[in-house]
């Protein structure tokens, strides 16, 4: 299960009169109209100033200016460029939006299969994999041509997936048949299945590749799976409706978000025990609106960002003390996030306002909002 279920709405009859829905329901409201209503022009005024010493190779002009300004060409070669490419899956419009992090604009919209959710770059950066749940497959987009070129053999209704550090093995959570499918990424062939709990959802793999964590929405458990034997070695009970799991880079902890429980459980991956919890409280906001989903941790393991769904905020958490230090107001129903490889920016998908927020990680500030397709769900950035 996910944020939403839209599959057969288009074919549905309008609600019959006399069902007592209340006056908010009008028969003239088709999903089509809602789509048109949700667009707001993005604010281009808040573009970040160019960083010192950067080279925007994609923009001839910028490069020329820099060349005149800096006569020593070696300085240019040494300076890192910061233009990255982000891919966003839009669950409702069945598209993937491509965002250029230099201009912060959508440069292309790729038509994909039905209900795209989980999305990730291959480790070599050549392809983007996107789980299209209603088509029961994972499509492969060539990052060069930005077109769908192949598909991977997942089980029914794939939602999220995780790959090992080498980028050779892919583990896919199939929501509808309670399995995790194991796929050989080089041969693009299915290696086998692992039986897990009801409605597998969150997926992550330990930095050493030995343990796969899968969360089950219905049984409220994080399953620890040994990747060599493909057997479940432990089940850890967390709060209601676990959605996402994230390892600390030093492997000492796994963080699991619970959408309905409203918490993040911190698990010791060796003892398989919950050793702490991150809780959230936002003044003036109902508890039910705080629904933790996506988790992102900086490489130094000092700061975590937790997306809080319809609270429309991202919590900034001090990893050591497990305390929230700040809440950032982003768009509506913030879901998943991705860092740029230099960790200067964090991008979040906001499912209801149909946009992506850009956060300056060091300043802990939202600097930009980019309109994408409908119901943006997952996000990945080229390595």
């Amino acid at each position: 299960m996910s944020s939403s279920d839209h599959r057969d709405n288009a074919a549905l009859p309008p609600p019959p009169a006399g069902e007592g829905w209340g006056e908010g329901v009008s028969t003239s409201d088709t999903p089509q109209e809602e789509r048109a209503l949700s667009r707001i022009a993005s604010d281009d005024a808040i573009r970040p100033p160019p960083q010192a010493g950067e080279v925007k190779t994609a923009r001839g002009q910028t490069l020329r200016k820099l060349v005149t300004a800096l006569p020593v060409a070696i300085t240019l070669a040494a300076a890192p460029a910061h233009a990255f490419i982000a891919y966003v899956s839009n669950e409702k419009s069945n598209t993937v939006s491509v965002i250029d992090t230099d201009s912060w604009t959508v440069t292309k919209t790729i038509k994909v299969g039905q209900r795209p959710r989980g999305i990730d770059f291959t480790r070599d950066g050549k392809f983007v994999m996107v789980a299209v749940g209603d088509d029961d497959t994972i499509q492969v987009i060539d990052a060069k041509t930005q077109a769908v070129v192949d598909s991977l053999p997942s089980g029914p209704d794939p939602e999220l997936f995780a790959q090992d550090a080498a980028g050779k093995v892919l583990y896919v959570a199939n929501e509808n048949d309670n399995t995790v499918t194991v796929i050989d990424l080089e041969k693009r062939a299915r290696l086998g299945d692992i039986q897990v709990g009801v409605e597998p959802e969150g997926m992550t793999i330990s930095p050493d590749g030995k343990t796969l964590i899968n969360t089950s929405e219905t049984t409220n458990m994080a399953h620890f799976i040994d990747t060599s034997s493909r057997q479940i070695v432990a089940n850890v009970l967390v709060d209601a409706r676990p959605r996402f799991a994230e390892f600390k880079h030093d492997s000492s902890e796994v963080w699991v978000s619970s959408e309905i429980g409203g918490t993040v459980s911190v698990i010791d991956p060796n003892k398989h025990e919950v050793i702490g919890k991150v809780t959230f409280e936002i003044p003036g906001l109902r508890k039910e609106a705080i629904q933790p989903v996506g988790i992102g941790m900086t490489k130094d393991d000092k700061t975590a960002f937790v997306a809080l769904g319809p609270a429309n905020r991202i919590a900034v958490v001090d990893v050591a003390s497990r305390k929230v230090t700040k809440y950032l107001l982003v768009g509506q129903r913030v879901w998943h996030m991705a860092f740029t490889p230099d960790e200067k920016y964090l991008l979040s998908t906001n499912g209801v306002s149909n946009d992506v927020s850009v956060i300056d990680v060091a300043a802990q500030k939202v600097i930009k909002t980019i309109q994408v397709g409908e119901l943006p769900w997952g996000i990945t950035i080229a390595p």
């Binding site: 299960m1 007592g20 829905w21 809602e34 409706r241 039910e288």
Partner: protein
């Protein structure tokens, strides 16, 4: 016919048990996949100045009340609503701020109330559906008993079969409508947030 009735009844049971798998123990009647948020909190949609007495005073201002009704109606396209907001928020910065607060307070109240009504309706129908599923389950057992009885009362079997088919159809139709209506609270959230954003932009 009888085989079909039984097959449908099994389907219905499957559907009913899916609906019964309410993930949130706080709201056992909530039928939607989106976790229930009973009302929109002001802090989720408004980052502008405190609304203060505008929260009650907006009703006394006829012009504001009329505009709130127009903007809250989802048949008013959003670009048209945006235009109306811009036209309304003119004059000095102080006037603008006062009117902006009144307008947003009105929209917040009105759309939140609409949303609550829809959610109550969803839960009411969800309860009705659970009763209907129980009834269908019960009558399916009765039908099986009638079919197995000797001598078999064909008239009774026929009558009960027809009734079951009818009830199952109503159940399935309602089930589909519920999924459609589950989208409505979200689209109200979306509208309130979008209008709030325009109002705040105009205040700056």
């Amino acid at each position: 016919m009888k085989v079909r009735v039984l097959a449908t009844a099994v389907l219905v049971l499957a559907a009913a048990s899916t609906a019964a798998r309410a993930a949130d123990p706080r709201y056992p009647d909530w039928p939607c996949t989106q976790a229930k948020v009973p009302e929109i909190s002001l802090a989720a949609v408004w980052a502008g100045p405190a609304l203060g007495d505008a929260e009650t005073k907006w009703r006394d201002d006829a012009k504001v009340s009329a505009l709130v009704s127009k903007l809250a109606a989802r048949k008013t396209p959003l670009d048209e609503a945006e235009k109306s907001v811009k036209e309304f928020l003119t004059g000095s910065a102080a006037d603008k701020a006062t009117n902006a607060k009144l307008l947003f307070a009105g929209l917040f109240d009105t759309l939140n109330a609409q949303r609550s009504q829809v959610m109550l309706g969803l839960e009411r129908v969800s309860r009705k559906q659970r009763d209907a599923a129980d009834k269908i389950r019960e009558e399916t057992l009765q039908l099986q008993a009638l079919q197995g009885a000797t001598p078999r009362d064909e008239a009774k079997v026929e009558a009960l079969s027809n009734e079951l088919i009818w009830k199952t159809r109503i159940f399935e139709d309602r089930h589909k409508v519920v999924r459609f209506v589950c989208e409505v609270p979200t689209s109200i959230d979306q509208r309130l947030f979008a209008l709030g954003r325009v109002i705040q932009q105009e205040m700056e």
